[in-house]
């Protein structure tokens, strides 16, 4: 701006909130005495319409080019007064505020001290205002497409919503199929819908949706860019099966020399598969995948004379030459829906998981009760070690447990394993599983050890009641140990309601394991520079007001990756994330932070200290021509910069400056405030 700073100062009374303690007239007179202040006023409520009108009038009448408002916290009304400036025809960044309410009149009783402090704060605002600069709120175009990472229910729902709204979706799933954990469940609490019945149609929709490009068995490798313009690199891992040719008939899987010999991840290792497999019958896409770690041909180079699968595949879909494929595309927004892992029960050795065959995790039990699971939904006692069961020997019928005991809160609300939080689903899924047991083996004795039952959701309490009425026994107590006595398992605990120690004999123990962040979380953190909350789930931008946003614009969270939740919550959040992601896409443009950093390329020495440190990778070193010499200098990508200013303090030569917080704007403040 050319010409002289003309500052208008507005001291707000805030009723008596400020004026009750601070002598506002004195502050106003003081303001009027400061250099470059052309008008200083006080008023009962600056933020009111008439208050704002004072400012816009003065801008017109006095030709103000800077405005200082001494009132409440800028966190409160900075946006308000920015708009005021704008409506007065002034760049909104010519505003500076002095916080004389929250940080002055409300915290100091002594009117003299408070008035003195108000003056200093005001003076500091005025000297900063002198050097403020007009900033341009820039806009960037938004690519109308969205990347969704993770194809669990959250990812699926978000994908469908966005695709339905007409935007392109790239859904990247790490495993061979979408569906995530929900696909592993049998029924879902509290309504007892069959999980597959409600999920599989959605999975099919995803596969068939013209706007969705599904990439399973794929991983995001690199993402650069910024909201509206992310460049994504995805690795499609080789499946060694030609997706176009495979008809999903399954002949190969039956023929595989390893059929039934590899624990199926999807079945949590309870069921078995071959080296070529489909995780479960309803998998989407219904295409087989060769697991190259186990496949004899791929791992050892030899599988009989010729690989069996290749021999039997009539479609000729098997292709051992297949390579990973890298695809690149551009998206405007990103939704992360990578879900969770269940707590590793081995971390609580006292419960004997991994030692006793019939100590199961709830997820394993979900597979056991699941009609499409390895036992066809029959709840039977497990013999885990004996994997090489021959088909003929199946005659011997597996035993059915007569009593099943659930232990809740395994790995949740437990400081000793570092998880202080509640996993939110275990109480309910335990009740659900207890119900299923009762449903399938009515005379089975079902006992649940619990700390408290948290049945807070819609229909939860009713469901919990129903299960109790079905004869499920709830014992309040946290078991200390599980050991074997004969062919029984003994749960040692104390009934804390009656304060009696007890040893409870049972056939089978199901551990209601909690939800924990995925063990491979870091991959995505590194790629997207996401932050984690203290529970190590991905951190939302604000716990209440921006629960689906991340600190990075254009990147959103959905599902359990952000924190434990059940399916309805995951879906709700997915829909929220979808709509949040669609806003910039629908607008086609997005405003980027204006108070970004900017490099003086004349003085930058190209040391890259700022580059190294920027949490948002907003700075890069570029080569420029300085008087004929090629030199490296830093350059800020304004769309990426969030305006933290950390780079500014790192730059020795002061070559990078943050707009609105430049050294020449802060140093005068220090000067004023340093004075006694």
């Amino acid at each position: 701006m050319n010409g002289k700073p003309k500052i208008g100062v507005y001291v707000c009374h805030c009723g008596t909130n400020i004026a009750g303690t601070v002598n506002v007239e004195e502050v106003r007179d003081f303001a009027a005495s400061l250099p470059d202040v052309v008008v200083a006023r006080n008023y009962s409520y600056m933020c009111s319409d008439p208050g704002q009108a004072l400012i816009t009038e003065d801008i017109k009448n006095y030709g103000l080019n800077r405005v200082v408002v001494a009132s409440c916290s800028p966190r409160m009304h900075e946006p308000t007064f920015r708009k005021t400036l704008e409506s007065g025809g002034l760049n909104p960044f010519y505003l500076e505020m002095a916080n004389i309410r929250e940080q002055c009149s409300w915290v100091h009783e002594d009117p003299i001290a408070a008035t003195e402090k108000a003056k200093r704060l005001l003076e500091a605002a005025v000297v900063k205002a002198r050097n403020l600069e007009a900033l341009e709120q820039k806009e960037v175009d938004v690519e109308p497409s969205c990347l969704i990472i993770g194809g669990g229910i959250a990812g699926i729902q978000a994908a469908l919503d966005i695709a339905d709204a007409g935007f392109k979706v790239y859904l990247v799933e790490k495993s061979p199929t979408i569906g995530g954990h929900m696909a592993q469940l049998d029924k879902t609490f509290p309504t007892l819908d069959c999980s597959a019945c409600i999920l599989t149609p959605k999975m099919v929709d995803v596969a068939n949706h013209p706007n969705i490009e599904l990439m399973t068995y794929s991983q995001v490798e690199e993402i650069t860019g910024y909201i509206g313009n992310f460049n994504v690199k995805v690795r499609k891992k080789a499946r060694f099966v030609d997706m176009d040719k495979c008809t999903g008939c399954g002949d190969c899987a039956e023929a595989c020399r390893l059929a039934g010999r590899i624990p199926n991840e999807f079945d949590e290792g309870i069921g078995m598969r071959g080296a070529i497999y489909l995780p479960f019958p309803q998998a989407v896409p219904a295409k087989y995948t060769i697991d190259k770690e186990n496949c004899l041909f791929l791992a050892k180079g030899k599988c009989g004379e010729t690989p069996k699968c290749q021999e039997v595949c009539q479609a000729g879909a098997i292709n051992f030459e297949q390579q990973d494929e890298i695809v690149e595309f551009k998206v405007g927004t990103i939704i992360v829906a990578t879900g969770y892992d269940v707590f590793d029960a081995r971390k609580k050795p006292e419960y004997g998981y991994g030692i006793y065959d019939n100590v199961l995790t709830a997820l394993e039990f979900e597979r056991l009760v699941n009609a499409s699971g390895p036992t066809g939904g029959k709840i039977v006692m497990l013999e885990r070690g004996k994997k090489k069961k021959k088909k003929e020997e199946e005659a011997e019928a597996p035993k059915v447990p007569k009593s099943i005991t659930f232990i809740q809160c395994v790995g949740s609300r437990d400081k000793s394993v570092g998880n202080e939080y509640c996993s939110r689903v275990c109480c309910m899924y335990t009740a659900k599983l207890a119900h299923l047991v009762k449903d399938k083996i009515p005379d089975c004795e079902v006992t649940i050890f619990y700390m408290d039952v948290r049945a807070f959701g819609k229909g939860f309490e009713e469901f919990y009641d129903r299960v109790r009425r079905e004869g499920v026994r709830y014992i309040r107590g946290n078991p200390s140990e599980i050991f074997r006595r004969g062919d029984k398992l003994v749960v040692k605990a104390e009934d804390t309601l009656t304060a009696t120690p007890l040893e409870h004999e049972t056939d089978m123990v199901v551990l209601s394991v909690g939800l924990v962040p995925r063990s491979d979380n870091r991959e995505i953190i590194d790629i997207l520079k996401l932050s984690q909350s203290s529970d190590l789930f991905y951190l939302e931008a604000h716990p209440k007001l921006r629960p689906v946003d991340t600190a990075s614009d254009g990147i959103f969270l959905a599902g359990v990756c952000q924190g434990p939740k059940d399916i309805p919550d995951a879906v709700a959040q997915a829909k929220g994330a979808a709509s949040a992601a669609m806003i910039p896409m629908a607008k086609g443009k997005v405003k980027v932070e204006a108070q970004t950093s900017v490099v003086n390329e004349e003085t930058c020495r190209g040391c890259g200290f700022c580059v190294e440190l920027c949490p948002f990778t907003a700075i890069e070193l570029v080569e420029v021509n300085r008087q004929g010499w090629p030199v490296k200098v830093a350059r800020v990508n304004e769309a990426l910069c969030k305006g933290c200013g950390a780079c500014v303090a790192a730059c020795l030569s002061g070559s990078i400056q943050q707009r609105s917080f430049k050294d020449n704007q802060l140093l005068p403040q220090i000067k004023v405030l340093g004075v006694k």
Binding site: T603, G608, F609, K632, A650, S653, G654
Partner: protein, 327 residues
């Protein structure tokens, strides 16, 4: 000891190369026992080159000190390599400069000199103030041998050895293209006893100590100019808008200047000792640098100038960095 004929031969080969623009080494000084930087542009000039314990200057400075004249339109800048002779300590400056992207490795050609220690020229001068020279210094075993005016004097090594050498842990260059001699094993360690002694004094004593030193500073900025890490093309000390440090010379500005300079070298100073050596009013600048060096090492396990790909100290962090001082 470096064989001078080999040194010159190597230099001749290097400066004869098409892709080498200049070679920076040492030559005899104009009086006393001094040596000084030599700039060689063609093979005919190599015979002036020497190396001996009087070769104190850290020549790495000159790589970043170069003032680039505007290249006339239509002409190409001369981007040929610069060859530079470095001792162990000096080589760390190259490493640190490269860690800070000051230039690419292939822009320099490094002639490494495994170093057995250099003299503190002030101590030599104090003993032999009247020698016009040329005098020669060499190291024989644990004695410096000084030859001048037809005389020969032997002085025990530690009496003339530069302080920095008494603590040097990297006598052999960490980066080089040619090494002029056998590697030298580290012959010293650093216990920071000097820093600790000062640390343990009372606040007022410390301040009195530094006030006396800082009050002498004439703000010639030689300490900055000689520093191989101080290569900002627009140093904040010279900047007017904003003016971080005023040009006026008084205890306030002098102190602020000394804090700024030393702090700017936190995690960057490689302990070559040049700043203290050049200071005409003998301000113990290394005591400032060494305090920071020590803290950086103790708190962050960080040592500048040893790894080219090390992230800058103050542009990195560990979640568990010490925070005992935080309320």
């Amino acid at each position: 000891m470096v064989d001078v004929s080999k040194l010159r031969e190597t230099a001749r080969e290097i400066i004869s190369r098409e892709d080498v623009r200049e070679l920076i080494g040492y030559r005899a000084g104009t009086y006393g026992f001094r040596a000084r930087p030599a700039f060689v542009y063609d093979p005919g000039e190599v015979d002036q080159l020497i190396f001996n314990p009087a070769c104190v200057n850290n020549l790495a400075t000159y790589i970043t000190l170069e003032e680039k004249l505007p290249v006339p339109r239509g002409q190409e800048p001369d981007l040929r390599k610069v060859a530079v002779m470095v001792k162990g300590c000096d080589s760390r400056a190259l490493v640190q400069q490269m860690a800070e992207n000051a230039y690419e490795r292939d822009r320099i050609l490094v002639i490494g000199i495994p170093c057995t220690g250099v003299v503190d020229m002030d101590k030599v001068q104090a003993r032999f103030p009247d020698v016009l020279g040329p005098g020669e210094i060499s190291l024989e075993g644990d004695k410096f041998v000084l030859i001048f005016d037809g005389r020969r004097e032997e002085i025990p090594k530690e009496e003339l050895l530069a302080d920095k050498c008494k603590r040097c842990r990297f006598p052999t260059p960490l980066v080089y293209d040619v090494l002029l001699d056998e590697e030298v094993a580290p012959f010293a360690t650093d216990d920071y006893s000097d820093v600790e002694a000062l640390e343990s004094r009372s606040q007022d004593e410390k301040w009195a100590y530094w006030e006396e030193k800082f009050s002498r500073c004439i703000r010639c900025y030689s300490c900055r100019n000689v520093c191989p890490m101080c290569y900002c093309n627009d140093c904040i000390l010279d900047r007017l808008r904003p003016q971080w440090i005023r040009r006026s010379v008084d205890i306030s500005e002098n102190t602020a200047f000394h804090i700024a300079r030393a702090y700017h070298l936190a995690g960057r100073c490689i302990q070559c000792g040049e700043c203290q050596r050049v200071c005409p009013v003998e301000i113990p600048l290394m005591e400032l640098n060494r305090k920071l060096y020590k803290d950086v090492e103790e708190l962050y396990d960080f040592e500048p100038g040893v790894k080219v790909d090390a992230p800058p100290l103050l542009s990195s962090y560990r979640p568990d960095d010490p925070e005992d001082f935080i309320l």
